[in-house]
Amino acid sequence: MTKYFIKRFLQLVVVAFIISVLVFLLVHLLPGDPSVTILGPNDTAHNRAILFKQLGLNKPLLQQYTTWLNAVFHGNLGQSYLNHESVTHIVATGAPIDIELIVISQVIAFAVAIPLALITSRRPNRAFDNVSTTTTFGLLALPPFVIAPIMVAVFAVSLHWFPATGYVPLTQDPATNLHDMILPSLAITAGSIAVYYRLLRSDLISTLQEDFITMARSKGLSNRRIMLRHAFRPSTFSLLAAAGVNIGALLAGTFIVEYLFALSGLGYSLVQAVQQRDYLVVQGISLVVAIAYVVLQFIIDFLFTVVDPRVVRE
């Protein structure tokens, strides 16, 4: 067991290290640098030189990287060149927003997709199935930046059910927080619903044809019992795998929703940092997101061993 975790930890370190090097190289290859953002119209050669020296950007690339890496090992992810906010603080305030967005949106997605799949897998290609497929694909074809303004126009401006923008931390005021996060979460959820629904549905259809289902039926078990207790469980494999891939993609892909709803999440901070050439912020957030992705995959893998005892935990 310990060996398992040690091995996983090593893998995590290797991946994180490689990604940190790649991100570092990538941002330094970008045209422009923080002096453009910081100095604005006072961006003269003289001022740039001073600024570079102040920020340590005149040192050789390798040294800049090792300095950063060293700081990371001491728990210091650096700070923004612009407002000096520490990267740790950016992550600490941004991560809860993204985690909440992802959790709520995936919960909603499962809550819609699973019942739909359970129902339609028993009667595929009937009217209800086709309507469900059409609707979920309609949602998939509407990207978040389309769904969001439509929802805001209807549910916020017209009906006044939800705010157009706004956020309070969950710990501060859970009720308002959840109320404010509904529309942003719905904007993200749309794509996931179609994926989970179709996946689970096809899995259930396959599983329902297996011998052990026929046997359960012949034993006189009710349809519902068969569905929920016997068919559903093995089908959760692909759902888990898809969730892993989907959430991984969402981890830094929430930028558009954060931008539209004025949420200071990691997606927005990351993109803004790239645009402002705020190197340390980009490197810090990328590192955290990559680690989160890897840990997520580990968890999914672990869950596999839990869901199916046949799967051997290495």
Binding site: K7, R8, Q11, V15, I19, L22, V23, L26, V27, L29, L30, P31, P124, N125, T133, T134, L140, A141, L142, P143, P144, F145, V146, P149, I150, A153, G191, R198, S202, D203, I205, S206, Q209, S235, F237, S238, L240, A241, A242, G244, G248, L251, A252, G253, F255, I256, L270, V274, Q275, S286, A290, Y293, V294, Q297, F298, I300, D301, F304, D308, R310
Partner: protein, 319 residues
């Protein structure tokens, strides 16, 4: 679960390295839960009629392709021509689908835009499938250090924050239809690699493959004749799903200014343009037509993928 490589399990570090990267277990399951029996070289498939909806889907896909390919020959106005006296026109005789906020004909832009969306969608996934799929096929079968390093690389690429990469590459390299296709194509390589690899892996130890090897078949022959036919259905299904995803992704890239440069239309940048500058309330048609077209395309792709999977899945074919 057929675990990763069974290399004879001799070396302890080998064991460590072969299980180097997680997530493959998940992919294995996702792939296997769909597969029942392998196709051996002389299997006969039980077929079932494909259905009316399937042919509708093929029809729509075909129509879109034809229109996109032959757009230049059609009697359409120039998709980039701006007519300032016909800004935001509702559908009329001169403009069957109306005009956008620069007075450009929406029908024309829709058809020319199909080109970009289809090329970006299919070509990029083709890149991913050919490169990633080939690598996955070989890697899954052969194993060893090749497999370990490719697997590691694919995992790193998947964990990398893609948005940073795209912004940086476009800032550095510029954007055009070709460049975006390549960038997204490279991005799909790790995905296709993992899927094909898992599939190849699962067939590598099947009886018929071992039998072929015992009979003296060379690796290329085994790969081509025994494993590839079994891997193709999975690759195609997953590939189609990815095409759908890429076509939608192009819209998000357009929103961020990272897609094809203006004034070239694409469904993605038309949708993006349709939600900007208050157009959603002023002229919803700008967003509506490309969204509807994209929706129908995704539906078609999904239906086709579904039916194809059913064909290759013997049990499900009996439904």
């Amino acid at each position: 679960m057929p675990d990763d490589r069974e290399l004879g399990g001799s070396d302890a570090s080998d064991q460590l390295l072969t299980n180097m990267f997680p997530g493959q277990a998940a992919t294995d399951e996702m792939v296997l839960s769909r597969e029942t029996e392998a196709l051996e070289s002389d299997d006969i498939l039980v077929t079932k009629p494909l259905g009316f909806l399937f042919w509708m889907a093929i029809g729509w896909l075909g129509l879109v392709f034809l229109l996109a390919v032959f757009a230049n020959l059609l009697p359409l106005p120039n998709p980039d021509f701006q007519n300032y006296s016909a800004i935001n026109a509702t559908p009329n005789i001169h403009h069957l689908l109306g005009t956008d906020d620069l007075g450009r004909d929406l029908l024309s832009r829709l058809i020319f835009g199909a080109r970009v969306s289809l090329i970006v969608g299919f070509a990029s996934v083709a890149i991913g499938t050919i490169v990633g799929g080939t690598l996955g096929l070989i890697s899954g079968f052969k194993g060893g250090s090749l497999d370990i390093s490719l697997n590691a690389a694919s995992f790193v690429l998947l964990a990398f924050p893609a948005i940073v990469a795209v912004i940086a590459i476009v800032a550095f390299w510029g954007s055009s239809l070709l460049k975006i296709t390549i960038i997204i194509g490279v991005g799909t390589i790790p995905l296709m690699f993992r899927v094909v690899r898992a599939s190849s892996l699962s067939f590598a130890n099947r009886d018929f493959v071992i039998a072929a090897r015992t009979m003296g078949a060379t690796t290329p022959r085994i790969l081509f004749r025994e494993i590839l036919p079994n891997v193709v259905p999975v690759a195609v299904t997953f590939g189609l799903i990815t095409v759908a995803g890429v076509i939608v992704l192009e819209g998000s890239l357009a929103f961020l200014g990272l897609s094809v440069p203006p004034p070239t239309p694409s469904w993605g940048n038309m949708i993006s343009e349709g939600t900007a500058n208050g157009n959603l309330s002023i002229n919803p048609y700008i967003m509506l037509w490309p969204a509807a077209a994209m929706f129908l395309l995704l539906l078609s792709i999904n239906l086709i993928g579904d039916r194809m999977r059913q064909r290759f899945d013997i049990r499900e074919g009996l439904l």
